[in-house]
């Protein structure tokens, strides 16, 4: 297309504005974490690192971080196992109701998070609590694993479609049993997609708030819940700001790694 020079310049300026609008708010959070006043008034007149020190020593943050890591780790492991199993079944076998199973895996992220949250909250309270499984750490893990399965599933299934089945047949022809074939031939073939899916699942779980608010008991605080509970408290806002700044930097690492891992097989 022959775009006129002014049109090109307009588009370039527009793209610049959009990118600025995407990154300035994030930069603002990082800068504001050094703002000396608690009211967050702008422009920043005095810079300080005292909120960083306060955040580092904050017990609530540490506990919440540890809870988040526990939840995300267990949810990721469940997602890795279940997601890979479904990916295997859907990419290798033909069976009745295949499309329905596919839809079922995607459903937890296709429906608004609040629906998953309310539904699980309701089940735990009316069915599982009388059986002794009330809301708590376990219910949060269940919620997170449910919507994390699809992350692993997507990655592993995409890789399976490109894998060379002949290699597995060759391994079995040469006398390897199914398990040996799986661990020495099949698994190494989709290992990087498996890890990438796991990282995405972990990142998703670590950041999740909507399903968490509905599945957590009052005492269960993941890091997002802690931020949620403290964001409106003026005296806690500077510490929340520091945590937000840390999360901006830290959350991009697993995603970067996962893109490196899956980027390999696009070549």
């Amino acid at each position: 297309m022959r775009l006129s020079a002014p049109a090109k310049i307009t588009l370039r300026v527009f793209a610049g504005i959009v990118m600025a609008a995407i990154y300035l708010p994030l930069a603002l959070v990082i800068t504001n974490s050094f703002n000396a006043t608690t009211s967050g008034s702008f422009p920043i007149k005095e810079f300080t690192t005292k909120w960083w020190v306060a955040a580092w020593h904050n017990e609530g943050v540490r506990e919440a971080l540890w809870t988040s890591i526990k939840v995300a780790s267990v949810a990721t492991i469940i997602a890795l196992v279940l997601g890979s199993m479904v990916a295997f079944a859907l990419s290798r076998y033909e069976f009745f109701g295949k499309n329905t199973v596919n839809l079922l895996v995607v459903l937890p992220i296709a429906l608004p998070g609040i629906v998953t949250g309310v539904a699980l909250n309701n089940t735990f309270k009316t069915v599982l609590e009388p059986l002794g499984i009330g809301l708590g750490l376990f219910s949060v893990i269940v919620g997170h694993a449910t919507f994390s399965i699809v992350m692993v599933f997507n990655n592993v299934q995409a890789r399976m479609g490109r894998m060379n089945r002949g290699l597995e047949e060759a391994a079995m022809d040469m006398g390897a049993n199914m398990f040996k074939t799986f661990f020495q031939v099949t698994f190494p073939g989709f290992r990087s997609a498996f890890i990438a899916g796991g990282l995405l699942a972990f990142a998703l779980s670590f950041d999740e708030i909507v399903v968490t608010t509905f599945t957590a008991a009052p005492g269960t605080e993941t890091l997002p819940i802690w931020i949620f509970n403290n964001m409106s408290r003026p005296n806690q806002a500077p510490v929340v700001n520091v945590i937000a700044a840390v999360l901006i930097v830290a959350s991009m690492i697993p995603v970067y790694l996962s893109q490196r891992l899956t980027g390999d097989d696009k070549k």
Partner: protein, 343 residues
Amino acid sequence: MTPKHHLAPGFPPFAFFAPTSKEDRRDSSAPAMTALKTPPDTAVTRTIPTTQGPRNSSLADKISRYLYIRPKVRVTGLLLLPLLWLGVLYLGSLALLFITAFWTTDSFTSKVIPAFTLENFTEILTQPAYQATALRTIGIALAVTVLSAALALPLGLYMAKVASPKMRALLAIGITLPLWAGYLVKVFSWRIIFSTGGPLDWLLAPFGASGPGYGTTALVITLTYQWFPYMAVPVYSAFRQIPVNLFDASSDLGAKSWATVRTIAIPLLKPAFIAGSIFTFSLSLGDYIAAQFVGGKTQVIGTVIASNINLNPPLAAAFGIVPIIVVVIYLFLARKTGALKAL
């Protein structure tokens, strides 16, 4: 044990087939590599003599042999756990939610009473406050969708047709990376921006204006910021797939830039817009955290659900059905246009 280089970037997928010890390498690597290029039956006859070991029958071998000839057992085994989780626990929960929506609560103890009633739905449909909330939420979700699409079009045009390949790659990463920066973090940043005396007020002060403050406008902007990547990515990739000839032909026939965009690009981008809109719409519809922090007094479906979940679970359940129905209708309309295949 497998050598480290198996994960090396760009290594061909058959790398994991490389033998693990030096002895093996001498024996089998050459035939194995040629085997990849020759038809499978030739490969078998060539590789068997060098690698066939003694036929032992361990338990693993027996199980393996049992499973090998029974694909139905294998697929059942693979699906059993995932279906227990997703089919029984998750789908069961959704079904129970649906049933609970027809139940009622004891107004004193907030205990759910399993007795069939349409009360919750009549309340949602007839109470003006609930009606307004549902419509307002749908309106906000539509506004976010339209705004995202309006921003994604010129950005996609720039990335696909003007930017250099290097710039294009940079922007493509630049759009998607903030998706992972943390949902609450982004809500928090806009909470700072819209705060009284905050950055936006400061920026607008020289023009004698001030920011909108917390409210519906702030909510729409915040949600657009959150979900914009879901619209920008499909639109950009669809832009790239439009053949250059079409644009050239259009301008050869005398169409100006905007006419080309309007008559050539937009119709071809329609599936991408719809695919993106499913995310921006559905995600905005279910949101209530942003509404709580930047929405001021704005009530959305989510806030009503959240405030009723402990006091009146059946009403919360009934209100939870609303986004499901809206999303299903939206998906149905989207499917009619054939856009779902592009997902």
